[in-house]
């Protein structure tokens, strides 16, 4: 089932969410990346980051609380060691970026705009913990527009900006309108939500636990953008595990869904959901894996 997102033609409306598909080969061990609508990288920063020390993850009821600290090799490392493999793999590569300042975001966009094989750039405006992660804190919707404009300006035509927004019901609609005006080709609604690890450290909450929250925001954003008569697409993200979840997000007005932590539980989730959309009539699509789902390692 093909779909169109911010002017890109995608093989499937099921995308791999940022930070949840590893560097690529890890997920490709279970099936070709070309089967997904996009492969979105973890958020890349200008300089390399080692990630957080101490326990990074905890289970919560139907959720995963995480404070990974955005580990990544920095833009240079990424372009040298990770992107070429991804492009080669046939994935539709969306590079997620995050920065300490608008200048950093612009610089990241400049580098990516020059690089062949980058289908789109996603700005991570949904970090559950900008402060402890030392990235730009954009508390008010107005600030988001500036970030999107700074990135859009540096990208060539045909490389759209996706703006990833937190599922914050109070501000998400206004934020979506503002980033749409600032030039975003699509909004991804629903990142990890601000939460705490059991020991109290700030963290993000992902997983099925947050799906009803994301669904609310997706519906309101889709409605508002349609009313505003924009052509900006909506991607739903947050707790997608089953075919029922996919349908709920598409019914709410999303053109695609991004699958995140479900991949940790079952690395074939996204491929299975993509296949379900193609093969199986909507009302019989179930939520359990086939008896044997395997794949080739690269």
């Amino acid at each position: 089932m093909r779909t169109s997102l911010a002017g890109l033609t995608l093989a499937s409306p099921v995308l791999v969410a940022s930070g949840c598909g590893g560097t690529g080969p890890e997920l490709a061990a279970f099936g070709p990346l070309s089967a997904y609508g996009t492969f979105t990288t973890r958020s890349i920063t200008l300089d390399p980051r080692p990630g957080a020390a101490g326990p990074r993850l905890a289970e919560s009821p139907s959720g995963l609380v995480h404070a990974t600290g955005l580990p990544n090799p920095g833009i240079d490392g990424f372009l040298a060691t990770e992107l070429p493999w991804l492009v080669q793999s046939g994935a539709k590569v969306v590079v997620s970026v995050v920065g300490r300042s608008l200048g950093e975001l612009a610089e990241l966009a400049r580098r990516l705009g020059r690089t062949p094989g980058v289908a789109a750039v996603e700005i991570n405006l949904a970090t559950p913990d900008p402060v402890s992660n030392g990235v730009l804190e954009l508390r008010e919707p107005q600030h988001l527009g500036g970030a999107v404009a700074a990135v859009a300006r540096e990208l060539p035509r045909g490389v759209p900006v996706l703006a990833k927004l937190r599922a914050d019901p109070v501000r998400v609609v206004e934020s979506a309108r503002i980033v749409a005006e600032a030039g975003a080709g699509a909004v991804v609604v629903g990142g990890a939500l601000p939460a705490a690890l059991p020991d109290g450290r700030p963290a993000g909450l992902s997983g099925p636990a947050i799906a009803p929250l994301a669904l609310r925001c997706v519906r309101e954003v889709a409605l508002a953008l349609r009313e505003a008569d924009t052509e900006v697409d909506v991607v739903g993200c947050g707790g997608v595990h089953t075919g029922g979840d996919v349908r709920a997000f598409l019914d709410a007005g999303a053109v695609a869904v991004a699958v995140g932590s479900a991949l940790f539980h079952d690395p074939t989730t996204a491929a299975r959901l993509a296949a379900e959309l193609t093969d199986i009539p909507a009302d019989t699509a179930g939520g359990t894996p086939a008896d044997h789902l395997g794949g080739e390692e690269r």
Binding site: P55, H265, P289, E297
Partner: protein, 273 residues
Amino acid sequence: MKAHVRAEVLASKRIGAYQHLTLVAPGVGERFRPGSFAAVSVGPAGERARLARRPFWIHQVRPLGGYAATVQLVVEPRGEGSRWLASRQRGDRVEMTGPLGRPFALPKEPVPVLLVGEGVSAAPLFPLAERLRERDCPVSLVLGADDEAHLLSALEARRTARAITVVTHDGSVGARGRIPDVVAEALRRSDAAVVYAAGRAATLAAVAQAAEDHGAWSQVAVEEPSDQPWACCTGLCQGCALPVVGEHGAPREVRACLDGPVLRGDRVRWADL
């Protein structure tokens, strides 16, 4: 090649403190190498209450009941996940991914080797011993545990190992003591060129040090970091960051599930765990 399957429980047997589960897991057993592991989802299929997966060493791969390569796991019922798995019965389905991780590296020459296993963590050493025997490596074995119930059967190992040292904390079987108390002597006697070890971090650190003192290589199968879930076990989540010494001596973090769980003992920053 890795597979994600709904494995079927073929048999489940209690031996001492552990539950031995035999599963039909197409694609997992066939591609297994000693030191690789499987990740198990906790709870009924489709129920996503516990998102982190539980890693278990693949203990044996055997033809059984018409299946070419059934997979055996040894489960110590501890918390929610392991208790759930241990209570699965014949015919039950278990969502499972494997084989995962970097397995033990085998020596090119038929050198003497020492295998050191502690408690349930000794599970991957048994198939390793078989492979090493096939390569004509003289195999010596040290098995340790808190007590007899937690000692993985040394009987099986008698066929493959030329010397076996057993040590338990309470002295219920073998010598009374801990692995670090006996490993140097076992190394000396076996004159091992490579030491393969699996167990708690403190034990592995002691074994790695002893190997270095003896001038042997060590390959350790870590279950660290043990204070946080290995959520994915497939390299996707960054949850299993393990401190190591990198290429040029620089400290860095690797994903234990992908770059491990078997690592060179001298590469792990034991003090930073």
